[in-house]
Symmetry: C2
Subunit: 220 residues, 2 copies
Amino acid sequence: MSIEYTVSKQNKIRQLRENAAYDQETVHEILDAGLVAHVAFVQDGAPVVVPMLYGREGETLYLHGARKARVIRLLEETGTACVNVTLLDGLVFARSAFASSMNYRSVTVYGRARLVEDWEDNKHALHVIAECTMPGRWAELRKSTDNELKMTGVIAIDIQSASAKISTGMPEDEDMDLDTLVWAGVLPLESRFTTLKPDDLVQEGVEPSDALKAMENTRL
Amino acid sequence: MSIEYTVSKQNKIRQLRENAAYDQETVHEILDAGLVAHVAFVQDGAPVVVPMLYGREGETLYLHGARKARVIRLLEETGTACVNVTLLDGLVFARSAFASSMNYRSVTVYGRARLVEDWEDNKHALHVIAECTMPGRWAELRKSTDNELKMTGVIAIDIQSASAKISTGMPEDEDMDLDTLVWAGVLPLESRFTTLKPDDLVQEGVEPSDALKAMENTRL
């Protein structure tokens, strides 16, 4: 059995509760499948949402950006941050507009954001983000310079609570609609990497590593 | 020439300014390509972000959800809402971790959220959302019942300001890194509809309409 996040006012899913999950395993699986997180913070009392690459290690999400970026400065000052990762898997064509919907995997995480200031922790966090977005790439690249590290801000969000919501499969129509002569079903949406394309400046004879080639044609 | 949104503190892009655009045409194009918006609001002083289907008509975004859903209730009470739509187009493998990045099309919209209460406006908004997400489907379906409409909450966000950020193409490495024997380039990510799958209850002889078939194998 996977550990469950405590259900509170904050993370409780109220609509389509049958699609909700609160276990760590499901939440981690979706976080690990996604690449872009939508991170919300408050600026002058108003909400702002920003897309960011991220990495997960255990119960911590790492985000990075320019050290001076608004999102880094404001997350540093914010209390609880909210992060959503959603993968859209298809459109569900039901027999009524009301029952029409989408298939998706979605996770919402709440946690306190903190700036990672310690030099070693900072490098570790960047390594985690790199491994989650470009597995194996970190080891192929030169070390970051001190100046590069100084220009990069890293935010850690330790997960306080989280929820997952997953919708799969076919429309759920009202019985009264089942006789209608309207087609119903799903149109899957696939997010898939295609084929590596080199830039013009790659040195002669240099090929992509096995780690990079392993990403080709994989799905999110 | 396309009309430009006024650049203010709210919508000004500070990082990678060369990727910023403020013209309506670019903003509309990305909004029309996307399917899921990430909508941020404030609950008890803390930020919350929720993924939602949406539709655009002119300078208005429409969102819908269960009438009683938190996001509908809180958007109704909120001042300015913030909405982000991001399409990830690939990973950019540079010759340093610092220069590594992603290719994407992203739009952030700010505007006042209001509940659409008028019955006819409500139906119109649902029609717009349907046309934007499932073009042509609305005309194939029965009319929504009064009860279905009562259970659906519609939020309109009139765009006050917006910005687009687009990243395409190859890594931009420092000159000092160009001699390295590391492969560099991009791995494109494609989000593509595949093939319509009927549910088991479709009446014999009923085929998907041309409008639905036209969506097969298209990309976001």
